[in-house]
Amino acid sequence: MADARGGNRYARPRPLSPHLSIWKWGPAMLSSILHRVTGNAMATLGLLILLWMLGAIAAGPQAYAVFAAVMGNPVGIIVLIGISWSFFNHMCSGIRHLVMDVGAGFEVERNNRAAIISIVCGVVLTVAFWLVILLK
């Protein structure tokens, strides 16, 4: 007989993991959730904008003019800044993940420092990218 938890009614209750509200925030948690949020932002909005750009160029000058007008106005630029920050943040924390994949950098001090560095680098690279674009 299955109960609400999907287990056997007569079995010992399985241990449950504590959820978000109980943990104290730290750099690793922030880096983790930013990695997920920026990744999903790019997977949805970022790729949609990329496809719109490619489709508009393929369709011709008029279609591209619509794309350029939407992306060139202040709201469009803010969205593009968000997407570019998503990429740089995701890239930096992704590199941190690849380092951790080989088993390195799990000491609390180093792990927290790398998390903070990846977040700061993401912001710095975004600012540098837009300075080059807008000062051109």
């Binding site: 287990g7 790019m42 790729l47 496809l51 489709g55 160029i57 350029a68 990429f87």
Partner: protein, 126 residues
């Protein structure tokens, strides 16, 4: 299998030997994305402007068209894998099955659209 608890059944079945496949593909495509999206970033930085002619002639070159097709394959694959992990965390039961099915259909269709657009630009629709 027998009539044991669910955890007992799983222990009896053992590993499906597929556990690392998704994880490895996520890393392979991550390496691809690192190279290809940085190519896109530097290409955009080095372009003199973003007029229709500038963009179309840039993507019409064989090198840029090849890189863009590879970028579409690598990023869409990586995004699909990542969104699957997100859905597995937040969506449960039959809804999860439907969500991941839709995810696969949408990402394959969207990636093909992007590749067709690049091919059209590269083969001189401009």
């Amino acid at each position: 299998m027998g009539n044991g608890t669910r955890i007992g059944k799983v222990r009896g079945l053992g590993s499906a030997h597929q556990g690392t496949h998704h994880w490895l593909l996520q890393r392979f495509t991550a390496a691809g994305n690192l190279v290809l999206v940085l190519w896109l970033v530097f290409s955009l930085l080095l372009m003199p402007g973003y007029s229709y002619l500038a963009m179309a002639s840039w993507l019409a070159s064989p090198f840029a068209a090849t890189a863009m097709v590879l970028l579409i394959i690598s990023t869409f694959w990586h995004a699909r894998l990542g969104m699957q992990v997100m859905l597995e965390d937040y969506v449960h039961g039959a809804n999860r099955f439907v969500a991941i099915l839709l995810l696969n259909l949408i990402f394959v269709a969207a990636a093909v659209f992007g590749i067709v657009a690049v091919i059209r630009i590269a083969l001189g629709a401009v």
